[in-house]
Amino acid sequence: MSDNAYKDRIPVSQQALVIENNEPEKIGGTINIEINGTPYKVPFGMTILESCKMHNIHIPTLCFHEDLCIAGVCRICLVEVEGMRTLQASCAYPITQSIKIHTSSEKVRKARRHILDLMISDHYGECYSCNRNNNCELQKLAKEYGVDFYRYGHVQEPFYEVDKSSYSVVRDMNKCILCRRCVRTCIDLQEVGALDAVNRGYDTKITTFLDKPLAEVICINCGQCINRCPTGALRANDPSDEIWEAIDNPQKHVVIQTAPSPRAAIGEEFGLPAGTSLTNELNTALKMIGFDKVFDTNFTADLTIMEEGTELLLRLKSALVDKDPNVKLPQFTSCSPGWVKYIEHFYPEYLDHLSTAKSPQQMFGAVIKTFYAQEENIDPANIVSVALMPCSAKKFECNRPEMDSSGFKDVDYGLTTRELAQMIKEAGIYLPELSKSKFDEPFGEASGAGLIFGATGGVMEAALRTAYELVTGRPVPFENLEVLPCRGMEGVRQASVHLENVKPEWSFLEGVDLNFMIAHGTANAEKVMEALRRGELNDIHFIEVMACPGGCIGGGGQPIPTSLEIRKKRAEAIYKEDEGLPIRKSHENPHVQYIYEKFLTDGPCGHLSHKLLHTGYVKRGSYIA
């Protein structure tokens, strides 16, 4: 599949300047330039900003984000290039000549200060009442440039109404500085197209189609825009006040499930480097805060593997043995609620391809208010079920009306990594220094397979570990169970596993190549869907799609900032944790075996599973009335 399909859609002005062949020896090698009087060598075609970064010369940026194409609109990264009348945006200026650059001349400092003053004059709100206080790029720059008064005045009254319509994303355009990172995220990175710049001149603003509330448009709630917003203009819908209230209410039994990705990232909120897993410290903290029980979402991730894997094998059987022409293959994973809403909006005709298995969060929700309530003899009406997720779309997911198979709202609140970190800080706890403790029974520790769900390719890898062994009786043929073709950060990956010497009951799979694909970020999902539509994926059996780049570790509820480097480190942390676990296959999780013995007695995809652990989807379409 070519990358060009979506590139054509990006306005040329916003496409990154790509020098096709950047091997220096082929296009003239390096160039000698001078930065602030010191000579440097830089590769031909590299931007001034990159060159300066390479040589540890700091240039402030706002509209620049390394995940996104170049905009060159905020103008804060201006530098002086000798011989040019105007200042140049260093993010957008490729060096193709031997130039002399000044990054901090009087002219540059004055211009930057003015630009900053202008932004601040148009930015409503006081820092102390902002959810991005202390993690705001505008605030940081204001400090860096010693802003101590409002040179061009300050907005006294909010101009825009805050859009709180969405369960997931809150838009406060009063704080928007029009850097357009969200636009580039939504259109280019995610191919969703919920946000764009409208109007002209001073009236320009970022908004939705026809200025509709976010909940009424095709937003998939992925929250990638939040992760890339430099200010507090975009934030997640924070339920922590309600959660505190539940904790403080002695009548309520408050349980929390924690997903692996927040555990691998929450340390960043406490100043630790990316890639520090704090799973067991977090268990301690959650108890200190007042949660009655702390469970591991990986338990239901293992359950998901059992259900979704069984579903796949059943689909394969229908296709290969019963020759049922109506069976839908490839099967898509359904654990990413952003992806689910994406396909509901943009490819509703393919909803039958989506596994009916609920996401781990929702499976746990259903299990807690049924099986757990029963085992522990608690009235499910008194259970408040919280899910710590790396994700803003999970907030929407738990509010989907059909998510009540326990007879109650299965999951009451989806809480993001950032919001929990805030709660922990509010409780006066410094997370990294806490002692470690274990997850609570009856679900206890889960397998490493459930854990790696957090990284793109993880669901596939976990599924293969179980499915291969189920079918052949042998472990998946990869050293140390590391199914390497599933790993990595490439947008769309494809691989296959050859099945041979299968168990007699799976004889129809003898000699079959199990073909699978992995995509992360909905722009990549779009490429997959278009290929499917063109009929190019007929021999693919299983496709994992995660709405967010990098998978859940790059989710819209994760600590800000984000970058490829950070996402890689979080993924490494998850893979490392998996490596050290005693159980690394979902079907070997004793608690999973126990729940099928005691509760879901007719097995995976059985009657009760279907009621509690599976769901249906809505053909939303993309038309906005």
């Binding site: 197209g193 109007n199 002209r200 993309s622």
Partner: protein
């Protein structure tokens, strides 16, 4: 909108897409033709154009709102746009504005209740040597005087 109206609109847009090509570069000509035919580009039209050009509706909305001559809401039959730029301003644009408001009984930025007239300002029309100037739909009128404005409006009213 009625389903039949939507179908007609879709057909119309399809034929425009055929005429100009299915690439995004056809967006402006298509918007312009829809604007002329319907006096505005409705939300349905925006979404149909987006669908047929394979771009996001919000992008069509962004483009439509960028250009002064494209509207997303219904306009009057006669859109009167008075040039407010400096040369016309120097030649008594304000007098013409008052005359227009008096004659039509509406203020600038408003539409008459019968949806026949709308009054708006516009940036330079390039008639600076013949100011004051105004556009009524696509027709330009120059060297306006309050008396001449009344005559022009009378002509229109007669239509």
């Amino acid at each position: 909108m009625l389903v039949s109206e939507i179908n007609t609109l879709t057909e119309e847009i399809s034929s425009l897409v055929e005429k100009y090509g299915a690439g995004r570069q056809s967006l402006l000509p298509i918007l312009q033709e829809i604007q002329i035919r319907y006096g505005h580009i409705s939300d349905v039209a925006q979404q149909e154009i987006a669908r047929l050009l394979d771009i996001h509706p919000v992008e069509v909305y962004g483009v439509t709102t960028f250009y002064s001559f494209l509207n997303t809401t219904k306009r009057a039959k006669y859109n009167i746009r008075l040039c407010k730029t400096i040369s016309c301003d120097l030649t008594n644009k304000d007098g013409i504005a008052r005359a227009l408001e008096r004659e039509l009984g509406i203020k600038f930025g408003e539409i008459s209740s019968d949806e026949k007239y709308s009054l708006a300002y516009v940036s330079c029309l390039g008639m600076c040597d013949q100011g004051p100037a105004m556009l009524i739909n696509n027709q330009v009128y120059s060297k306006l005087t309050p008396r001449k404005v009344v005559e022009i409006l009378d002509q229109i009213k007669g239509r």
